[in-house]
Each structure stands twice: as C-alpha cells, then as structure tokens.
C-alpha cells in the first residue's frame, strides 16, 4: 500500500462545475498536506497547503484535511478550462524534508 493514494482519473466535468479531488494517506505522522497543479511537460506548481487539520481557502480553491479519517480534499469552484491539468496531493512530516506524493488526478474541464 502506498502512503498517499489518489485516483488517477481522468475526471471530466463541465465548465462552471464544482470539482472535488481527494487523497487518502496512511502515515499518521504527516502534518503537511499540499496540493500541486501540473500542466503537461511542466513542473508541479504549489496551489496551497494545510498544516495539521482543518480548512484553507484561497480564491476558488478550498483545501480540507480530516486527520481522523486520513482524508485530504481539494475543491475548485466555478471551474474553468484553464484548470485542466493533473492535480497532485503530497504529504510530509515535521521531522524531515521528504514529500510523499500521490499519483495525481487528471482533471478535464469541458467548455
């Protein structure tokens, strides 16, 4: 079992829809929960991160962490075709500098 699991998709939704992307993790020592966006043939770009539990909002994006169920979510409101990309979740600990990544979910927003 991988430490961070993510459905690879693809997930296809119409423009304007609310998108829900999810990951599960197994290591209870994880404290950092990150979401990255990766366009084809580009490096990952950090969207937002959460430390420990709770919610964080940034514009159209909301990240949620539920440590009791080891579940990480990213919501995208008013989705745009430019949001089409692969979304990667990643987790890390306080004690080292290694991020453990999910496989990424390919998101397609249809105009």
């Amino acid at each position: 079992q991988k430490e961070v699991e993510q459905d690879p998709g693809p997930l296809s939704v119409p423009e304007g829809a609310i998108v829900s992307l999810n990951c599960t993790y197994s290591n209870s020592a994880f404290q950092y929960f990150m979401w990255y966006r990766q366009y084809s043939r580009k490096g990952p770009e950090l969207l937002m991160y959460t430390y420990s539990s709770g919610n964080k909002e940034d514009g159209r994006f909301t990240a949620q962490v539920d440590k009791s169920s080891k579940y990480i979510s990213l919501f995208i409101r008013d989705s745009q075709p430019s949001d089409s990309a692969t979304y990667l979740c990643a987790s890390g600990m306080d004690s080292n500098y290694q991020l453990i990544w999910g496989a990424g979910t390919k998101l397609i927003i249809k105009p």
């Binding site: 961070v4 993510q6 690879p8 950092y32 990150m34 043939r41 580009k42 490096g43 990952p44 770009e45 950090l46 991160y49 990667l88 990643a90 890390g92 080292n96 500098y97 290694q98 991020l99 453990i100 990544w101 999910g102 496989a103 990424g104």
Partner: protein
C-alpha cells in the same frame, strides 16, 4: 534567473552510458531538492541539499546515482551505467529555506534510456 532552470530539457542516452543533469536554482535559494517522476506517477524524492551539503540522500535508489552542489548554487545529478528503468522526468526544486512549502519546481529533464 526568474525561475528554476533545468538542462537539458530532454536527454536520450544508450543503456550503460553516463549522464549528467543540471539544475540552476532561483538565486539566493539555499535549499535544493531532486525528485524523479515516472509516467503516470507522482514525484519520488531523491535528495535534499541545504547549502553545499546533502542533508538527506536517502531517496537515491542505488550507488549509480550521485548528486553534487559544490558552491551551494547549481546542482548536478549524475547517473552512471544507465538502465532502461532510469527513464523518467527528473525534477529539481529550490526554496529560500528548508521548508518545502516554499519550493519552486523547474520544468524537469526528460531522460530516456534506449
């Protein structure tokens, strides 16, 4: 430069050859990370530098892989006796300090071993 620069963008090499991949971090960034991303997978940690020293090299898969950062800026990832299984995108990231929450990634070097 404005961002993390990796060269070459693409590298095709024959099995058994030696390759070097270069990373130019953002100016002033003391922390530098190397990751490897296989097709359809998330990045996999290889090594982390703080300044000139490798603070954590536990992700290097075997002794064919080695990385240096002699002056605390540019880093080179070196792979000896390449194998077809080494084919992947090699990503470099840099950050102003050790926190990976502030890391910026380069576009990667796509290595193909034939």
């Amino acid at each position: 430069g404005a961002g993390v620069s990796q060269t070459p963008s693409n590298k095709v090499t024959e099995k058994g050859k030696y390759v070097e991949l270069r990373c130019d971090p953002i100016s002033g960034h003391t922390a530098l990370y190397w990751y490897r991303q296989s097709l359809g997978q998330g990045p996999e940690f290889l090594i982390y530098f703080q300044g000139t020293g490798a603070a954590d090299d536990s992700g290097l898969p075997n002794d064919r892989f080695f990385a240096v950062r002699p002056e605390g800026s540019v880093s080179t990832l070196k792979i000896q006796r390449t194998e077809r299984g080494d084919s992947a995108v090699y990503l470099c990231a840099s950050s102003p300090g050790p926190a990976y929450t502030e890391a910026f990634f380069g576009q990667g070097t796509r290595l193909t071993v034939v």
